[in-house]
Symmetry: C2
Subunit: 310 residues, 2 copies
């Protein structure tokens, strides 16, 4: 059990309690959930990890790799024994899991998630776990996002990475602090913001570029001379399109979950492309040079900051 009283006392005193979770349930044992389990095990912060998932073969792999100590395909049964539940499955599956475990969760069991969108996940918590909200902590670990099963789990994935918490109004400070402290034990840095702000920021710097890359590869593949084109694509193409290799179902979920913000981003980008096309049509070398130069300067500044982040 989590010692919430000790956490409260420590929080009041400005100290940090080293959290230790007796029984952690990880629903979706892939890169995100599996790496969380491994990092906590290594840090000595977890007693037993129960891996829950739809695919038995993946769960058995998690067991064999030591990512999970026990596996189950029954979220209600596993949740009944949990001190913490991490939902690390695609956002599209989270509602069903919450509904299935709602009746069996013990009060005080912290429920958190790894979803890439947060307004929709907040709504899921409210709909499916209305009596459990004080212990619900929506979160988004910013780390590689392809869900490639238990074998993708790795120690150290979260070192120097960021985790964004978007607590609900009802979330207890102690619940947020428990989740924060465990992510810090994985090496991550914690940021808190509102769900709407989170979704706007990530629409801009993550979701939009994924859509742009998918759309770009789609257009090249549709060309009459696609084979010839692909044949001469090189390192610039490789890096620009890397994120078009991302998981389709996951990105369908994210796109629809963050639809309003993404449509606004798309419209703004389309307008920008329209202005760029006009510069080209007018042969406006000074205008192109200015746009490219400002973009390059912004990108260079960003990259220097990014490298300093470590």
């Amino acid at each position: 059990m989590i010692d919430l009283h000790a956490a409260q006392v420590a929080a009041r005193q400005g100290e940090q309690v080293q959290q230790r979770i007796d029984t952690l349930v990880v629903a979706g044992v892939g890169l995100i959930g599996g790496s969380f389990a491994l990092a906590l095990k290594r840090a000595g912060r977890v007693g037993r990890v129960i891996g829950v998932g739809r695919t038995l073969a993946n769960l058995e792999k998690a067991l064999a790799l030591g990512v999970a100590d026990e596996i189950s395909q029954d979220i209600a049964e596993a949740a009944a024994r949990a001190d913490m539940v991490l939902l690390a499955c695609p956002v599209g599956q989270m509602g069903a899991l919450m509904a299935a475990m709602a009746a069996s969760l013990r009060p005080g069991c912290v429920v958190t998630d790894g979803g890439s969108t947060k307004s929709d996940v907040a709504a899921l918590y409210r709909r499916h776990l209305p009596h459990h909200l004080p212990w619900c902590v929506p979160a988004h670990p910013i780390a590689g996002s392809d869900m490639s099963g238990a074998s993708a789990a790795q120690y150290g994935l979260y070192e120097n990475r960021r985790v964004v918490l978007t607590p609900l109004e009802e979330t207890l400070a102690e619940s947020s602090e428990t989740v924060s402290e465990l992510w810090r034990a994985c090496g991550a840095e914690i940021h808190a913001m509102g769900a709407a702000e989170h979704d706007a920021v990530f629409a801009s710097v993550s979701h939009l570029p994924h859509l742009l890359a998918f759309a770009y590869v789609d257009r090249v593949a549709a060309k009459d001379n696609a084979e010839r084109c692909f044949d001469f694509a090189a390192t610039g193409f490789r890096d620009f399109t890397r994120i078009a290799g991302s998981h389709p179902e996951m990105w369908t979920d994210i796109s629809l979950a963050n639809r309003e913000a993404l449509l606004a981003e798309l419209a703004d980008y389309q307008a920008g492309l329209g202005r760029l096309a006009a510069l080209l049509e007018n042969g406006d070398a000074a205008g192109l040079n200015q746009l490219f130069g400002e973009a390059r300067a912004a990108r260079t500044r960003w990259h220097q900051q990014f490298l300093r982040r470590g």
Copy 2:
């Protein structure tokens, strides 16, 4: 001097003569030109390299680094002594260089270039070197394209890279073969195609993504919450925007030189984004999933081929 007669005989007999250039003039001693000079020196294929450029400091660096054996700011004088000239400057400077050396080039001196667009460069050869066309060989080495001076020159840059030749109608087979054979001595693989086809292919797989990346960074930087956005940008953003760090003047040149093909690419891409936005607006999960899935499959196939290329 290049032994064109031996080359002709060898070409007729299906053999290859190892070309050796007594005096090579490299106009623009940066990554492209400097690396060509270094590779030929190492292969023992060049007697003397004369580096020509606008910036004395860069030429002196080229001399100090052994990229050039001699330096000059007078292209006409240098060209008079050349057995081969490589124009490795931005395309926007090539016309002036050609005009300046037109009167001093010896017949038989092969003139080639490293420009990223080829229809416009072909037109420059025709305009400025109308009497020298048999020895003019437009070319495009596909390699990192930032013009960062003599210190960027590196041995081995062209190993397993591609060089596209787009010979003019008037170009002698022997001239093309000389250029091909020297690029092969640098480790490159030679492909020939028409200038228009070259420009269409590269508009699609290189020039368009550069414009899309510049435009994208420009839009993020223009946001009210740009700082917050940049602060949460991570590895997907990093790779997608890498090419937005490219040289503004160079990309202004390329964009304008390949304007027609690029405008067609932009229009096609805009239409694709419009369809994607419609899928989003309609909440069409199946449609999004299909588009993302097909793009991912195409990108995965491409990447496997790219890795096999070595």
